[in-house]
Symmetry: C2
Subunit: 419 residues, 2 copies
């Protein structure tokens, strides 16, 4: 029988799980101090909730689950859509929106949510990408002000630093700024998303590539130069001059947006002075999800080509479930990416009680129990084969020391390896 | 839009997750000290691995996942079975067997596995039963001797005691004993499982019910009385007389089985003297899973009508995946049942920074940051509505104290409730 995990999925061995658990415990402790409360939603959601939730491409990747009680041979002409009623969640934001709508009366206001768990996407398998992977999100629901944005950024940079990722840079922009930029460039609204997709590629294809793409999108040379000039002029502005420069470059930008961005900039500037952290306004930052409505942000780290966390404000998503809009802002840590970046600081404290076959099980267990009393990890292992070879295997399996137990008693504890 | 979770599933709110996390952390710490290493397998497995793995009734409850790339209208006469290639796991033992077969070369021998996570069964929804629920298993793979059984029982009773469930009773039996009992009763082998199913009900239907069922299974009155006499005579035997009494009652029982049971009995007796724990030999203990081959056990607690943990030896299951038999023994904690039994010791240490609307976000965040420095959970909450009513809500949401922040500065920290 083929024993490999299902295509595109993977087994996590003890060493990998230990790293993941360590990273998760570290992040959880930071978020706990910020008052984020962990919730869990079911892996399965009704299909109509997963569809039409602006998940874009992700909706095409949903694993669909067969209804129960179907006949084994289907009637002619049955559409596939009628065979399924459930799907596996492809992110944690759609389930959170449903959760909030369903449980709102019992939740604090604002509600600080912390979620971590697997999501599933039937993507084409490729190196380092899996069809089941963890997401790790915090969200603040019910807070309209930039306190939400700033706190989410503060908590997430602190969580990343606690895992060992210091020296991060926070990039900030705003969907409302992007809209004003697109309007100013003279594009009709249906063409804005296309502009944003192109701008988002600036890191990869440079200004030359962006200029070429924009001209295929129907912008004239003059429009493109004006846009490029605006963007270049705004890139990397600090807290001192951000609102002024934005107002000058885009006179139609509302006072609210300017005030929000200036308040975020001031608070981020303060954080950056206190911690090992940079921040910048990035006018080409887009973030893919169509549901963002206000500030958007991401965190980058020199060791990773992609961002290590991303998020933003989405004030209209919950309303689609609840019927009433609820201000909402979230930040998602790229859990799998961070685990890959950090790797394993192998802990070698486990003790093996290596017992000879003639030792009664009860005696091996008694010796283990005594050694375990001070909190150490202790396991009996039966003596087998060549002694030196077995010590090598114990070391390979992660044991740090051993006690050799013969019928006439236990020897001194001895360290493994380290020579 | 209907916002209830998918039928038979549930949302877990912060208070419920806090209890679950606490129980899980407690169990994990005990199992860590015994050297059990956490692994994770994907939620999805190929259907042919889930089917035919002696999961019995559970196999009928598998959530089946549609293949990707199907046409939206299916050709006439397509069997449902051809539409699916994956299923959600219904337990953690089948995936563990596949995992062990696939990763054996990289694993210690014996391998002490710890798994915790959701499984899915499309059961008829009923009170207290969910279609997604957690299982929490330890397994020792590669150890043929009763050291495995005894250690699993020791570790699991310790884990349960650590969560607060002391005063447990361990019930022990052996599938090989049950087979000898059935043979002695004069039943042909195909009828043994029926006998076991009936015996398993003794707790519920009493001897009268068992006698009635056994006569419908074709046993004569004389056979039934002999069986009842044997069982009654063996019930509750202690470590001193177990092997002798078994050998006398069932002369065909092999020396190996007697020696195993006597060794377990001795070790459990020793444990029972050291800890707040009872154990007994229970000749009517069956445990449902068809894959058990040797000793079986469960743990009961006065506060729960069903068992709180169960397990046994299954030396033939991994061989079905691997082609070679591997000795294996496992113990599964009824995680959901234990969480229900324990409920919540509500922790009320979180601090609210209740800031007036005119206070800048940065200042509210600054005050929260200072209070958070000593490790406490601190969250800004905007002042809103009547003061007394808001304090009531803060208390209801689990905050233990608050700092009231006005434009002219922060007040003293004050406790909430407790009066």
């Amino acid at each position: 029988m083929d024993l490999t995990p299902a295509r595109g999925t993977r087994d996590l061995l003890p060493a990998a799980v230990a790293v993941r658990d360590h990273v998760l415990a570290t992040i959880t402790e930071v978020y706990r101090r910020y008052g984020y409360q962990r919730i869990e939603t079911p892996a399965l959601e009704n299909t109509e909730r997963l569809a039409g939730s602006q998940g874009g491409e992700n909706e095409k990747l949903i694993y669909r689950v067969l209804r129960r009680g179907l006949p084994e041979i289907l009637p002619e002409g049955t559409p596939v859509a009628e065979l399924v009623d459930l799907g596996l969640r492809y992110d944690l934001t759609v389930p959170l929106s449903r959760f909030y709508g369903h449980n709102r009366a019992a939740l604090p206001d604002p509600f600080r949510s912390f979620q971590v768990g697997p999501v599933w996407r039937a993507e084409r398998p490729q190196k380092g990408r899996y069809r089941q992977f963890y997401q790790c999100d915090i969200d603040m629901l019910g807070e309209p002000g930039v306190l939400a944005e700033i706190e989410l950024i503060e908590a997430t940079t602190e969580a990343l630093a606690a895992t060992g990722l210091s020296g991060t840079t926070v990039r900030v922009s705003d969907r409302r700024f992007l809209s004003a930029l697109a309007a100013r460039a003279g594009l009709p609204e249906p063409a804005w998303d296309g502009l944003f997709i192109t701008l988002d590629k600036l890191d990869k294809i440079g200004w030359e590539g962006v200029r070429a793409e924009l001209s295929t999108r129907g912008l004239t040379g003059g429009q493109i130069e004006q846009l490029a000039g605006t963007i270049t002029g705004l890139h990397g502005l600090g807290e001192g001059d951000l609102a002024g420069a934005l107002a000058k470059a885009l006179p139609d930008l509302s006072e609210d947006v300017l005030a929000d961005l200036q308040e975020s900039a001031g608070a981020l500037g303060e954080l950056a002075r206190e911690r090992d952290l940079k921040w910048e306004f990035d006018p080409t930052l887009v973030r893919g999800m169509g549901y963002y409505t206000g500030q958007i942000f991401e965190i980058v780290h020199p060791a990773s080509s992609g961002s290590v966390a991303g998020g933003g404000r989405y004030d209209k998503l919950i309303g689609r479930f609840l019927g009433t809009d609820v201000p909402a802002c979230g930040f998602s840590i790229g859990f799998e990416r961070i685990v890959d970046l950090l790797g394993a600081p192998a802990e070698r404290t486990a003790v093996a009680v290596l017992y000879e076959p003639e030792v009664p099980a009860a005696e091996a267990l008694r010796v283990a129990r005594r050694l375990r009393a001070d909190g150490r990890s202790v396991s009996p292992v039966r003596r087998r084969g060549k002694f030196g070879a077995q010590l090598g295997r114990l070391e390979e399996w992660g044991f740090g020391s051993l006690v050799h137990l013969r019928a006439d008693g236990a020897g001194e504890e001895r360290q493994l390896g380290g020579s």
